[in-house]
């Protein structure tokens, strides 16, 4: 009876440690990947919301708004087209500049824009204009790593969030 009461041996302990650390490593990798994927998805959703806000502000105030997407600097900004003054960020306050690659968007990168110079203007009627000409075809305004993107519909100014389900 006394022999049966003995604890785990060192080898057993090491085996348990090795197996659990292996499992933890796999889980951590998975979690990190999920985290960056959800950041990328979130970034595309945020861009959709911001662009809709910009467009609606143009219509509400009757003044054209310009969105400038800067792929190099990994950010976009929203200004009044006539004066070049930034709109206020409705949530965080301050000038409306959305910077990726840091904080909650650490793993997010803007990879492409289909807009000439990355510039999109919404006129006071909400119509999308690029390089002083009305858009004539569906144009990708912004594309993130992970493949998620926001498209602009010509004439109507409808914005479409396109989630790349293949990346998930």
């Amino acid at each position: 009876m006394i022999r049966k009461e003995s604890g785990a041996s060192l080898i057993e302990l090491i085996m348990v440690l090795v197996i659990s650390s292996l499992l933890a490593a796999v889980a951590a990798q998975r979690l990190l990947r999920d985290a960056s994927q959800s950041q990328q998805r979130n970034a595309a959703r945020t861009a959709l919301r911001d662009f809709e806000y910009a467009r609606n502000q143009a219509m509400i105030h009757g003044k054209a708004v310009k969105i400038k997407i800067d792929v190099q600097e990994n950010r976009y900004s929203v200004r009044w087209a006539a004066t070049g003054i930034y709109l206020n960020n409705p949530v965080a306050g301050g000038p409306f500049v959305r910077q990726f690659g840091k904080d909650a968007f650490l793993h997010v990168r803007i990879v492409d824009t289909g807009l000439p110079n990355g510039e999109l203007v919404f006129t006071f009627t909400g119509k999308p204009v690029a390089a002083s000409k009305a858009l004539t075809a569906i144009t990708t305004a912004i594309q993130f790593n992970g493949g998620h993107r926001v498209d602009v519909m010509p004439h109507t100014g409808q914005l479409k969030l396109i989630i790349n389900s293949a990346a998930e």
């Binding site: 809709e52 219509m59 909400g126 519909m153 004439h155 109507t156 100014g157 409808q158």
Partner: protein, 164 residues
């Protein structure tokens, strides 16, 4: 010293089954409560999205209608479509089919269950559609119904084009 054998014995099968059943009942109730709140969240989200999209469409149409160059620059005015020249000569057509509202053939909103345009003369009388004499049009009323998850929302807006 050795304890009496009785205190060393494990659980009986019956006890185990009772535990499993009780846990199952608790988990089932919790799942039901949780899934109903997820459904509600989903419903609210879909509704918010649909209402937001249709409000935008309504606003977008109104700002365009305000720019009709003059009463005789309307080419065609029917209940679900309208074609006209804007101030500045740019043509614009509004149309609705298959739940989609379109401007110049491009979708403006995709979840519009019903759409109708009503035309009134300067004596506030409704003109029958399609309007025969477009010069009589004085005021335009836009009505639309969105139906996220079978719940109808009706939105409308009235526009008097600024050049009339």
């Amino acid at each position: 010293m050795l304890k009496p054998l009785d205190s060393q014995r494990g659980m009986t099968l019956a006890e185990l089954i009772v535990t499993v059943v009780v846990t199952g009942i608790i988990a089932g109730t919790m799942a039901r409560v949780l899934s109903s709140s997820i459904d509600m969240y989903d419903f609210l989200n879909t509704r918010r999205r649909a209402v937001q999209d249709s409000r935008f469409a309504l606003q977008r149409l109104s700002t365009e209608l305000r720019q009709i160059a003059s009463p005789d620059s309307i080419l065609y005015a029917a209940e679900d479509s309208l074609t006209f020249y804007k101030h500045g000569g740019e043509p614009l057509s509004i149309g609705w089919s298959n739940h989609t509202l379109r401007l110049n053939g491009f979708p403006l909103a995709n979840t519009i269950k019903q759409f109708s345009l009503k035309y009134y003369n300067d004596k506030q009388q409704q003109l029958s559609s399609p309007v025969g004499n477009v010069k009589k049009i004085w005021r335009i009323r836009i009505e639309l119904v969105v139906s996220p998850k079978q719940h109808d929302f009706k939105l409308y807006h009235e526009v008097k084009p600024r050049n009339f």
